[in-house]
């Protein structure tokens, strides 16, 4: 009998060990697969902004976008990851209540030297750090790509790369530390809830772009002497529209990476998935709500514009408008909010254009304005829901005031560094290309290749 019990215990132990291995491999694979999906976001942005460029600038726009991606990776490795873990409690860099933040903690796990280097490279005992780092690095590159499209056809390449590094490896990372991390002061003190990063990724990047655009100025020919605006069509709208659809595909990777899988030492729960705040979520929730948001955003934009560019921008706006609460919204409510975002999109873009802002792809509106709209909408519809895992009365709840505070902070974290750093670059002569180069076309000036050696035929547009 004792032998049988011992054998049974050994079999149970072996099963538990096997289950643990399977769970760990699943967790690692889950985040690993989110990475190539998020690369699709960048493929999409690349196509999007190249299509939105005139033929004389198409390759230059592509080079700029590729370099942003390339420089975000090492700089996020050098210091961006450290910022995420060091900054949650604010500029004091002190440890928060969950004891997974502050300069001491970041020094222990997020530097590429000394003892902490063990978590920043191949390690058979650590199947989490690399995939988490990579997922966050892709979020970082997304912010740079958002800004990239807004500034096409007149920004200097190196000046742009410096801005991309400031945005992707610092500004949005601070926003994530404050508004996403379980020790983030916006979360613990104000109950800010931004599950899908409408504010801390999209709004920060969108308003960073606005700060840059103010100093960069419009493209030659965008505005007339009386202040009225001209439409400068990109050379390839099909390319742009397909690029936007690729971004939608990539969003599934972006949003699945926002889910914390169960059963690991770093998981919130042993038996159920959670958001980064430790609140419950399912991938089914994302299935319902992402697709309803895409449909709503397209329909809203179609009603106002009939234009495929704005329809696909509406799809992005639809997702962004509900991203903060994709874990909590009822799908029909998701659809309603997404339709409203699609309706708002073009008037909001026109509002900026009427004030002399030349945002070539509508990035400030789609990501900035709609991002903040989404953060605030959750404060209206989600008020009273616990914002963080914990006992009733001990954790903050979602509120309109809290979400507005979060929206203001995200705006400032984007706009202020974007404006200040671009102003410095302008003073150093590193922001805008010379007028002669802009008129000649940036491909001719600095890209030793041709986008379309044989030319492409053009057709006249239909009347509205």
């Amino acid at each position: 009998m004792e032998e049988q019990l011992a054998e049974l215990a050994a079999q149970v132990a072996a099963l538990q060990a096997g289950g643990g291995v399977t769970n760990t491999m699943f967790a690692e694979t889950y985040y690993f697969l989110s990475i190539p999906l998020m690369v699709l976001i960048h493929a999409g942005f690349l196509a999007y902004e190249m299509g939105a460029s005139r033929m004389k600038n198409v390759l230059s726009s592509g080079v700029k976008n590729l370099l942003a991606f390339a420089f975000i990776m090492p700089t996020f490795y050098f210091f961006g990851w450290w910022v995420y873990w060091a900054f949650p409690t604010g500029f004091t860099l002190s440890e928060g209540p969950a004891a997974i933040s502050g300069a001491g903690y970041a020094n222990a796990i997020a530097w590429g030297w000394g003892e902490s280097a063990q978590y920043m490279g191949p390690n058979i005992a650590d199947q989490a750090s690399g995939v988490f780092w990579a997922a966050f690095a892709m979020f970082a590159a997304t912010t740079a790509s958002i800004m990239s499209g807004a500034v096409i056809e007149r920004i200097q390449t190196v000046g742009f790369v410096i801005l991309a590094i400031v945005l992707g490896s610092f500004a949005w990372v601070v926003a994530a530390a404050w508004g996403w991390h379980a020790d983030g002061w916006l979360v613990t003190q104000w109950g800010v809830h931004d599950f899908g990063a409408a504010g801390l990724v999209h709004a920060v990047a969108g308003f960073f772009a606005l700060g840059v655009l103010i100093n960069l100025g419009p493209r030659i020919g965008k505005f007339n002497a009386d202040g009225s605006a001209n439409h400068i069509p990109g050379h390839n709208m099909p390319f742009t529209v397909v690029g936007l659809m690729m971004i939608i595909v990539g969003f599934f990777g972006f949003l699945m990476a926002c889910v914390i899988v169960p059963g690991e030492a770093w998981s919130w729960f042993g038996d159920k998935p959670s958001t980064i705040y430790g609140t419950p979520i399912t991938l089914s929730a994302l299935g319902f709500n992402i697709l309803m948001a895409v449909g709503g955003g397209i329909i809203g934009a179609w009603v106002v514009t009939r234009d495929p560019f704005w329809m696909m921008s509406g799809a992005l706006a639809g997702i962004i408008s509900v991203a903060s609460g994709l874990d909590l919204y009822y799908p029909a409510l998701t659809f309603i909010i997404a339709v409203s975002a699609g309706l708002l999109l073009k008037p909001a873009a026109d509002f900026l254009e009427n004030r002399g802002i030349d945002d070539a792809v509508g990035a400030v509106t789609v990501h900035g304005t709609i991002g903040l709209y989404g953060v605030v909408m959750l404060g209206i519809f989600g008020a009273g829901f616990p914002a963080l895992q914990g006992a009733a009365g001990e954790v903050p709840t979602i509120s309109l005031i809290g979400q507005i505070v979060g929206a203001v902070v995200f705006f400032l974290l984007g706009f202020v560094p974007g404006y200040v750093v671009s102003l410095l670059l302008k003073a150093m002569g590193m922001l805008r290309v010379p007028e002669g180069a802009e008129r000649a076309g940036l491909d001719t000036v600095k890209v030793p290749a041709q986008g379309y050696p044989e030319g492409i035929p053009a057709s006249n547009p239909a009347s509205r």
């Binding site: 000394g114 063990q118 180069a437 000036v445």
Partner: protein, 56 residues
């Protein structure tokens, strides 16, 4: 530099397993990589401005 464990066998590996682990080399590599990025930006900016020279 060599294998970062006392025995040259994977069976004793229970943690970090990259080249340079246990020495100061990861920090040296990180510093060199950072310098490469800075140098590319510096010289890239100079090259870019040279190209603008004909179009001022």
């Amino acid at each position: 530099m060599g294998f970062p464990y006392s025995e040259a066998s994977w069976s004793v590996v229970d943690g970090a397993m990259f080249m340079g682990w246990g020495s100061g080399m990861p920090g040296v590599y990180t510093a060199i990589a950072a310098v490469v990025c800075l140098a590319v930006l510096f010289f890239g900016n100079r090259s870019e401005h040279d190209r603008y020279g004909d179009h001022d």
